[in-house]
Symmetry: C2
Subunit: 184 residues, 2 copies
């Protein structure tokens, strides 16, 4: 079965007006996505940010749970946060995955709008029969910029709700997609 | 189709050692669960807390997005937060649902451990054919206390990951369960 990886991208993303921006890191993204990733067998989660101070903040959020002796008994949170790697950008995440697996990952673009791509179920089948690692790319703010889509090998269809409204948090969207790719 | 409701319970919950506690309200629970609920057609979300100051905090988190004129253009967030009702306890949530629907809701207990209950797919079928409103009960902290389980009409089986690890945030678990009950 193909190894599954996830990258949470903070640049280039969109703001609410569609402008290209760099978003700030949200500490709860790191915790929630780490826990979902650990539950659904993701091999590593990359938090990508171009600004040094923001990467340092993410490292503090992650390492807090390793440094405090009185936190040691919550080993389940540590097991999840061990998956988190802080990197400058998507290229460094790809390079790390190539180093770990010996293969270039298939880049999968996610968004709340895509309708002309593959379904989670199709990607799940592909992962079951294929060997190439899969890297799911998630955006923050109001989603990934078009430049990220241009680099993708696959586009994952948006999660569809009960009606037209679809404005999930990235934490919720990642949880649902990981469930659909790896849940029982 | 049966109406779907959700209550996020802060007392009685468990802490990491299994003691009965009252948890603090997490602002991002309100935002994330409101957005997931709106996406998947939940009719109302109750945030239940026995402490007045905590309820006031929850009301401020919700109403912030209605009071700031410069926030008005993010109407999608408002549409989600409109679903949020702040109540003292489960009984008041039940009473509101009875008033709205004319029926007593079926109480559904969720946990990260249950294996002997119904699946999401079974509950989805029941909702398609039944008329009674469904109230999904979610715990905070380390989950709902046994006293809440004793009141439940149904127990929902835990989400199963790729292995033994199952320590999702309540935000992630609610998203996955709502997707399984109402997603396309």
């Amino acid at each position: 079965m193909a190894d599954l990886f996830l990258v949470l991208i903070h640049h280039p993303c969109l703001d609410r007006r569609g402008r290209i921006v760099t978003t700030a890191i949200t500490s709860l993204d790191i915790h929630d996505i780490a826990r979902s990733a650990r539950t659904f067998g993701v091999r590593a989660v990359y938090v990508a940010h171009p600004v040094r101070e923001q990467r340092d903040f993410a490292i503090r959020v992650r390492d807090h749970w390793f440094e405090q002796p009185d936190r040691l008994f919550d080993s389940r949170r540590r097991e999840a946060l061990e998956l988190i790697h802080i990197v400058d950008d998507l290229d460094l995440a790809i390079a790390e995955i190539e180093r770990m697996t010996g293969r270039r990952p298939i880049l999968v673009y996610t968004s709340a709008q895509a309708r002309d791509g593959v379904s989670c179920e199709q990607l799940r089948e592909r992962m079951a029969s294929g060997d190439s690692p899969i890297l799911l790319m998630f955006g923050t703010g109001f989603g990934l910029a078009p430049a990220v889509r241009e680099r993708a090998d696959l586009v994952l269809n948006a999660i569809e709700g009960a009606g037209d409204y679809n404005h999930l948090s990235v934490r919720a969207a990642a949880a649902i997609i990981l469930y659909r790719l790896r849940g029982r």
